[in-house]
Symmetry: C2
Subunit: 324 residues, 2 copies
């Protein structure tokens, strides 16, 4: 059995707990939290400890699965965890990955540990598809579509507007753009062409809804470049209809092998639960990190560095006999 | 530049030539044939030599791309090539892969060479999807659909029937089965449920068409377990309408993360040219084999053993900076 520890119990930590239950070769030593341990009750009944006590578990945990956020949590804490543990995380601030990688790789090598960073579906499974598709069809173009699903960052941005009590924002891929891409015509698509943004907003009593709608639609980077729809609803309706964590998306590459012939590759995801799926990917890579650490590897890896066989639930060197 | 040699110039060899042209880091030293070299004219204008002369090119070729068939050609010849060269092949007799692997792995290790076997789309890209999807969603089921596309083996089987002059057989995935799978219901599907077989047959003058149709439909393994349709057409119509090499297919896995939540992963291919796409996959793996051989690796690898970064058209260790 591979012994894991789970750091953090938000949506993702909960997803990792559920994924650990599904994996027959994974055993969870405990969930580690910054909150008072007695206030955290994992859905799987795992034991809960304070993160302060993690050091005591150094010899009992093979891989630590880090479930903190990418904005502040992981950049501030992973360096500390990787000194003592092999780690897997879902760091997803694309632009900062090289810096995060370099810093952790150095620490891990100095301490003889191994980490996998930026594991999930994007970055993660989608990145793997982009690399594979591009290597196979160099004379082509790839497109990534996200959704329909909630974007946490965009929802937060709406919540910061004066007079907004709560909000949920869906990223919605546009059918018209998807169709063009699937036709193999390699269209030039603007940001506005690819995705629409749909917002469900609960306003404070007496707030100026017209101003809120205008502030959302004109918000630079987040909404100004998109077709944005704003619906004002009640807190009850938001809770009832918009608390699901479904998501999905597509990576599509179409490339020419000759002037006449084009080949289309597509990976698609349709997820009832974004954090439960991301947790499942983290658990598969925790397995790979355990195996590679046993072989003496140290430093930091991404999904591009790890042979697929190490993710396999059975004997890695036998995978080709049944799955090839 | 990575210097390759191409052994065999049939449909696949032609596809590899075209793929080599698209890859900016690949240079083709020549096409090697068992036919009289002057009778072979590669579409890309590459030089043609007799396979008998291959030994002379030992120091000039980094990777040999083997384009022979899996039934008799590769099993009879790869062992000989891999003594002197790094190789990539598309051996696709699933049941015989372990035996083929073991034999070549031993020879390659003894001779300090490196080979990749069973590279293409199935086995190949589809196998990679099956492994990844299954590792991430262990509580699930996967389905592979092939087509619509020509099955060479089934076409050959029809051509062996008395009174048949020529024939083309299409494997067609059934929409009804695909829909059930995409709904996430994890249906039990029989062979007949998943695919239909559509045959276009040119009969000899005066042949008994009713008997031919009966023989096709009742042929064990090939047709008896399927819904099979037989159309008799002229040689001209066959040439005109059925000489395309389009193909495609789907790998779909749906798995549960909780009792209520299911997650669906799908890889799909839509190919104008099956051999040109397979050739493109072979070229991407030739690049990986070259790089791994330079690192001193020997023996035989499958798609499961090779980190994705080695397929990347740029610097493998920089791939994560732009594609993750």
């Amino acid at each position: 059995m591979i012994r894991i520890g789970i750091v953090g119990y938000g949506n993702l930590g909960r997803g990792v707990c559920l994924a650990a239950e599904k994996a027959k070769d994974i055993e969870c030593v405990g969930v580690f939290t910054r909150r008072a341990p007695e206030t955290v009750k994992p859905i799987t009944g795992y034991k809960v400890y304070s993160v302060e006590d993690l050091a005591k578990f150094k010899s009992e945990i093979d891989v630590l699965v880090l479930c903190g956020g990418s904005a502040t949590d992981l950049p501030a804490t992973t360096a500390n965890y990787i000194k003592d543990f092999n780690t897997v995380d879902s760091f997803d601030t694309h632009a900062k990955i090289p810096e995060y990688f370099a810093k952790l790789d150095k620490i891990a090598k100095e301490n003889g540990t191994l980490g996998a960073i930026s594991i999930g579906w994007d970055p993660g499974v989608f990145s793997m598809a982009r690399l594979l598709f591009g290597a196979v069809l160099p004379d082509g173009k790839d497109y990534t579509f996200w959704g329909k699903g909630v974007s946490q960052g965009h929802s937060d941005a709406i919540r910061r507007i004066k007079g907004v009590r709560n909000a949920i924002q869906y990223t919605v891929p546009k059918e018209s753009a998807l169709e063009k891409v699937l036709s193999g015509s390699n269209p030039e698509l603007s940001v506005r062409d690819k995705h629409a943004r749909e917002c469900f907003v609960v306003a404070e009593v007496g707030a100026d809804k017209a101003r809120i709608e205008k502030e959302i639609k004109e918000m630079p980077n987040y909404f100004a470049d998109y077709d944005t729809t704003v619906h004002f609803i009640s807190e009850e309706e938001l809770k009832e209809k918009h608390s699901k964590l479904a998501h999905g998306g597509f990576v599509i590459r179409s490339g020419n092998t000759t002037e006449e012939n084009s080949e289309l590759l597509q990976l698609s995801l349709k997820l009832d639960s974004n954090p439960e799926f991301t947790g499942s990917v983290l658990i598969a890579f925790a397995r790979a990190i355990f195996r590679l650490a046993q072989k003496g590897e140290t430093g930091v890896k991404t999904a591009f560095d790890i042979p697929l066989k190490y993710l396999y639930t059975g004997d890695p060197d036998e995978a080709f006999k049944s799955l090839l």
